[in-house]
C-alpha cells in the first residue's frame, strides 16, 4: 500500500481534489434543482455546471491536459464544432410550443 508521501508525489492527491470538486459540482446541480426559478434559468445554470464538471473530468480524469497540445485542440475543436452544429433545431421546438405547429 503506497504511503501518503508516495501518493502525493505521484499526483493521486490531485485526483482526489478533482474528484471532490466534481462531487461538489454534482451537489450544486441538486441544489439548483430545488431553486424557485424558471425552467430556462434552471437549464442554463445546470448546463453551465455540467459543462464545467465534464471539462474537469475530461482534462484531469481522462488526462487530456497531459497530452500533446495539438491532440487536445483536435479533440476539443472537433467535438465542440459538431455539438454546436446539432443545435440548429431548437428554434423549431419554440415554434411548436408557441404556435402549435401552425406558424409559418
Amino acid at each position: 500500500m503506497p504511503t501518503a508521501a508516495e501518493l502525493k508525489r505521484e499526483g493521486t492527491g490531485k485526483y482526489l481534489v478533482v474528484y471532490l470538486c466534481i462531487l461538489a459540482f454534482a451537489g450544486l446541480q441538486f441544489v439548483i434543482a430545488y431553486q424557485n426559478i424558471t425552467a430556462s434559468q434552471m437549464f442554463r445554470r445546470m448546463f453551465s455546471v455540467a459543462l464545467v464538471e465534464a471539462g474537469v473530468a475530461v482534462l484531469f480524469f481522462m488526462h487530456l491536459w497531459a497530452e500533446k497540445r495539438g491532440f487536445l485542440l483536435f479533440v476539443v475543436i472537433f467535438t465542440v464544432f459538431v455539438l454546436l452544429s446539432m443545435q440548429f433545431g431548437w428554434t423549431d421546438s419554440f415554434r411548436l410550443i408557441h404556435c402549435g405547429g401552425y406558424c409559418s
Binding site: Y19, A26, K68, L83, S93
Partner: protein, 206 residues
Amino acid sequence: MSQADLTMQRHSGGMLTDRPFAIPTKKLAMWLFIIADTMTFSACLVAYGFLRNATPDWPRPFHSIVNVAVMTFILLTSSLTMLLGAQTAKRGDQAGAFRWTMITALAGVMFAVLHIREWLGLIGEGMTLFKNPWGTGLFGAAFFSVTGLHITHVIAGVIALTIVGLRYKGGRYNADDIEIVGLYWHFVDLVWMFVVPFVYLMNLAH
C-alpha cells in the same frame, strides 16, 4: 530490412516513425470512439430536449432524488477507483491495479442494479414507452431511450473492465490497456453528468 523499407525511410524521413499526436494508436482509437459516442449521446439528449421544450404537458414524475443521488455518487466514485487502478498499473503493482479495476466493475454493477430497480418502479407505476399516467406519452420513449443507451454503455463497460482486468492479471495486457479502458469508463461517467440534470433534476415533481 528490405529495399522497400530503406527507400521509404530515405524519402519520407520521420513520417513513418511518429505516432499520430504522439499517443499510442490504441489510445487514439479509443479517443476517436469516445468522440463518436459523444455525438450519439448528444443527439439523443438534444432530441430529448427538443421534445421536452416543444411539449406543454411534459410530466415531472420524480418525487425523490435519493436514488439518482446514490447512483451519481457511485458512478463518480467509480471514476476515481478507475483512475487509481490506472495509476497503480503504471507503477507496476499488478495485484493492486486488478483490485481497483474489479472494484470499478463492481461499482458499475451496483449502478446498473439501482438503475434497473428504478426502471421497474416506474414501469410498476404505469409508465411504458408509449404512455404514462402523468402526461404526454413521449416522455416514456425519451426517458427509456436516453437512460437505456447509457445503461447499455455501463454494462458494456463492466464487461470490458472484467475482461481487461483478468487479461492484465494474466499478463496478456499491460498498464496502457488499463488506462485505455479507463478512458471509456470516464466517458460513461461524463455522460451521466449531463443525463442527471436534464432527465432527472429538471423533471422533479414540485
